[in-house]
Amino acid sequence: MGNLGESLIEELTCETVFTVHGIGISESVVVTWVIMAAVLLASILLTSRLKVENPGRGQLLLEHAVVSIQNIGTGIIGEEGRQYGAYLSAILIYIGIANTIGILGFKPPTKDMNVTAALALMSIILIEFAGIHKKGVRGWLKSFAEPIAIVTPINILEVFIKPLSLCMRLFGNVIGAFVIMKLIEHILPWVLPVPFSMYFDIFDGLIQAYVFVFLTGLFIKEAIE
């Protein structure tokens, strides 16, 4: 069992891939770069041959996929905050790919708390920015005292709890799935992991990506109301 624990710990730690001027670049950042490069290349390749007239099946499929992803983003946030829809869609694509990239043998970037913390940080910045943009600084400050003044500490606490909850939810889900997958692979590395991988890597990963985006959208909607 000591062997398993050690290997698990080793798998869980995010290694520093290389060091530039004493700054260690971790694996998650590198994997994110890989994802970015791959998606950039794919989207340039796919969108270079788009036709207005008589689109092929592939183009229709791509258009449908992209439009439905955008619709998910704008559908969560509603008509009022349309400008934040594109961000939600982009984040949805990123988390979806990051969560499911474990299938290809990469370590999921969302397994690193830096990534989920960064996502949560951006979410809370966007939420508060949306609130300030909509209500102005005074209105935003006043909104902490709503509905009654006594809940102000709780509202202030919420500014920290929201991103923490988002961060930990995503991180915990991904790392939990990762640990369970490693345990199953330790028991039987051949056939058994396939159905579990279907659930933990693909289904759970996509659901968690959607939940993250959904909650961010919900918070933004709440902030701009």
């Binding site: 930990m168 939810r169 915990g172 790392i175």
Partner: protein, 74 residues
């Protein structure tokens, strides 16, 4: 020391009880809803999945805390 850590981690993971009960209730209600209105199955399914994912979060928090205890204290 390691025994105490293990006990602590085990207690932290008890948070999963709440998530289990919550998801169970949600699923039973969803079943009832589908039985009452089979045509709304798609919508109910979507809401159930979302609710389950949210309810699961408490269990995940427990798991994360257990992980923290094990890794940070070991």
């Amino acid at each position: 020391m390691s025994t105490l850590i293990a006990i602590g981690a085990g207690i932290a993971v008890l948070a999963g009880i709440g998530a289990g009960i919550g998801i169970g209730i949600a699923t039973s209600k969803a079943t009832e809803a589908v039985a009452r209105q089979p045509e709304a199955e798609g919508k109910i399914m979507k809401i159930l999945l979302l609710g389950s994912a949210l309810a699961e979060a408490t269990a995940i928090y427990g798991f994360v805390i257990a992980l923290f205890i094990i890794i940070l204290l070991a």
